[in-house]
């Protein structure tokens, strides 16, 4: 009796099940890590004390404990999850539409633009007469500047098409423009203000609050259904532009849509926390290593991987320095290098 070859559909189903389990395990790991993040912090409160604070609610009688749990740790955790997921998603989208494994949400100049906007706000709200309190001005201008950068790249894409080379070149031009504008701001800034700008660029979760969580969270929630519509189309695009077009896909329109969603996710993520690097570059690679090219699983996996990396960095930062937390962006940058190497080395010959 000769063994009959297993039908392709069965093999495919088995693989899909394996990948589904991988995503599930990653999600579980994220949940555990999130819990760990919640119980670590400079105040050194015991898990028991935190549990009581959680049960007592935001209005609990122990004001210090209630504030630490409900006003500080919980929004920081939520912010970490949202920003990590947004950057992970944005990273995968960017790598897909640019067909480039080196792309990240910041490739097309979004981070430089956000940094410029933040620098402008930090330099002096007086320059920009808006009826906003100082703490909202920075995220607002970072967001606006990112959308301006998006619009610039978009205009080029409208005029010259959405081929990856065109997008990348337009993006690099925009990036250099905003970087030089940002350098000019830094040159003009006094030492104290300069320090604030530089540290904003590092990215940190320390200033998270519920307003920030609801703004960034809403942007993420709005983007998710928009992305869901294009899951198949994005997967086809990974086959290559010619294949996708042969399948009847309007590649240019798809690229433009995905590009806008990426911009929105990135702007939402970095406006409140600063430009947290590497997450958007590495999370997509982790996601592909877990589930391959299918974006139906790839996008959730990238979101989970992004959140996982950021929360892991947050926990590490809190453990490294007890009192004054190291900005999480520095930890992701330092930890990102070995992670990227690990991803590269673990890749089977492509």
């Amino acid at each position: 009796m000769t063994a009959r070859p297993v039908p392709a559909v069965v093999r495919w189903r088995a693989r899909a099940a394996r990948q589904g389990v991988a995503v599930l395990i990653a999600a579980l790991a994220l949940a555990v890590l999130a819990l760990f993040d919640l119980i670590t912090g400079p105040s050194g409160m015991t898990p028991g004390a935190l549990w009581h604070a959680a049960l007592a609610g935001p209005e609990g009688a122990d004001r210090a404990a209630a504030t630490i749990f409900w006003q500080i740790r919980l929004p920081q955790l939520c912010m970490g999850l949202i920003v990590g997921a947004s950057l992970g998603l944005a990273g995968l989208l960017m790598q897909t539409i640019l067909a480039n494994p080196l792309a990240s949400p910041f490739t097309l100049g979004f981070s430089a633009a956000a940094g410029f906007g933040a620098a402008l706000a930090i330099m002096g709200g007086a320059l920009v007469p808006l009826p906003l309190p100082g703490w909202l001005l920075t995220p607002f201008l970072a967001f606006t500047a990112t959308l301006t950068a998006t619009a610039l790249v978009w205009l080029v894409a409208r005029a010259r098409g959405t081929a990856p080379e065109t997008l990348v070149l337009a993006g690099i031009a925009v990036m250099f423009f905003f970087q030089s504008a940002q350098s000019l701001m830094q040159f003009m800034a006094s030492p104290e203000v300069l320090a604030q700008i530089v540290f904003w660029l590092f990215g940190s979760l320390l200033k998270a609050n519920w307003v920030a969580v609801s703004v960034s969270g809403t942007i993420l929630l709005v983007c998710l259904p928009l992305l869901a519509r294009d899951l198949w189309a994005l997967t086809s695009l990974r086959l290559g532009e010619a294949h996708a077009a042969a399948l009847g896909l309007d590649v240019a329109a798809l690229r433009r849509r995905a590009f806008l969603i990426t911009a929105l996710l990135t702007a939402g993520a970095v406006s409140f926390t600063g430009t947290i690097g590497f997450v958007g570059l590495i999370a997509p690679h982790v996601a592909r290593a877990l589930v391959g090219e299918d974006h139906r699983l790839g996008l959730p996996a990238a979101a989970i991987a992004g959140a996982l990396i950021l929360i892991a960095a947050s926990v590490t930062g809190k453990m490294l320095s007890q009192g004054a937390a190291i900005p999480v962006g520095i930890v992701t940058a330092v930890a990102g290098v070995p992670m990227l190497l690990a991803v590269i080395l673990s890749r089977k010959g492509v």
């Binding site: 004001r63 004054a324 937390a325 900005p327």
Partner: protein, 364 residues
């Protein structure tokens, strides 16, 4: 206008007879703050010396946490002098530095203070939500501001410190002293013949090989404006930044101020402040004076080159530095004023340490 009303409000609330367990003050952020009795536990963000001057001998023991970097890292020798007297400072929890985004509201709350005394630059960097977080934990937040370097805000900050720490009389005496010294400086200048001397300030941190920052507005420029000097950087530099060396030579300054501090690992800097000596500062200042093209400047020819402590600004003892600059511009009007001696006197009267070191000097 608004500030004047604030000042009156604070002054009224400070009449000794009116000091009750509960009182409402308006801090330098313009927030209304309810003071519940004299605090036993204080989280201190900045203005450490001014806090200690107003709070008096018991003040140090009440500090339960602080923003450590602006003291220990920015003024290491001053920090050493105070930790010698109050060793407990060394082990206090640190809640981070607002300047570099490491300020941890959680660490501050965890130290369970009754009141958090912060600078307005700290509350501004933190943002309103973070200040609310601290208040939600049942901690009174008070913002004060000596950075503005104005008489009005110096006096208000001092009186607020007095009200918060239950030391209104001490605060009033300090405020009166500061106001009197400033008034005396201004009066002497008003009566003197206008000097018309051109003055150049440089932050002498990077060594003579590199041009350091000068000040067009605020900080030393503010002091020069107060004493009516002609600042060559005015109109050239917005706030602070380096002037071109060529411009400095062309401007022919009559007086040069080299601002020095207790910097670490700056071998060529003019080191001044706690624990620094004049013998060590002289050759460093001479190296600046020996810059190419400087030998013929009126300031260098007439030996009108001064070293002045950069850390001396934005604090209650800064009247000393205003008088140093004024004396350089109007030597006759200030002939009987000895700024260095006034600094020693101030520390003796108000602070638990002596200013052992060099704070103002002149190139020999």
């Amino acid at each position: 206008m608004k500030l004047a009303t604030l000042a009156t409000a604070v002054a009224l609330s400070l009449t000794p007879a009116l000091v009750h367990a509960h009182e409402m003050i308006t801090d330098l952020d313009g927030r209304m703050v309810m003071i519940h009795g004299t605090p036993e536990r204080v989280a201190l963000g900045f203005y450490y010396e001014d806090y200690l001057a107003v709070a008096g001998p018991e003040g140090a023991a009440k500090i339960v946490s602080l923003s450590r970097a602006p003291w220990a890292d920015w003024r290491p020798n001053q920090w050493a002098a105070y930790t010698k007297v109050f060793p407990a400072l060394e082990t206090l929890p640190d809640f981070g530095n607002a300047d570099d985004n490491t300020f941890s509201v959680e660490a501050l709350i965890a130290s369970k203070p009754d009141v958090a005394i912060l600078s307005t630059w700290q509350t501004a960097a933190l943002g309103e939500p973070a200040v609310k977080q601290i208040e939600n934990a049942g901690i009174t937040v008070v913002a004060i501001d000596y950075n503005a370097q104005t008489l009005e805000r110096h006096l208000l900050s001092t009186r607020i410190l007095g009200a918060v720490m239950g030391q209104p009389e001490r605060a009033e005496q300090l405020a009166a002293m500061y106001e009197a010294k400033t008034a005396d400086t201004v009066a002497r200048i008003a009566n003197a013949v206008p000097s018309g001397k051109k003055i150049y300030v440089e932050l002498a941190q990077k060594g003579p090989g590199e041009v350091g920052n000068t000040y067009g507005k605020g900080m030393w420029a503010g002091v020069i404006d107060l004493v009516g000097g002609e600042n060559i950087a005015k109109g050239q530099i917005e706030n602070w930044g380096p002037l071109s060396p060529e411009f400095v030579i062309a401007a022919q300054p009559d007086v040069i101020l080299l601002a020095g501090s207790e910097w670490k690992n700056k071998p060529e800097a003019v080191l001044l402040g706690f624990g620094e000596t004049d013998e060590a500062a002289q050759p460093k200042m001479a190296a600046y004076a020996a810059r190419s093209g400087w030998a013929d400047l009126p300031a260098v020819k007439n030996r009108e080159v001064y070293g002045i402590y950069h850390g001396g600004n934005r604090t209650l003892s800064d009247f000393v530095y205003a008088r140093t600059v004024a004396k350089a511009l109007y030597p006759e009007a200030f002939a009987d004023v000895d700024p260095a001696a006034e600094l020693v006197e101030y520390y003796k009267a108000w602070l638990p340490v002596a200013p052992d070191g060099t704070f103002v000097t002149k190139l020999q």
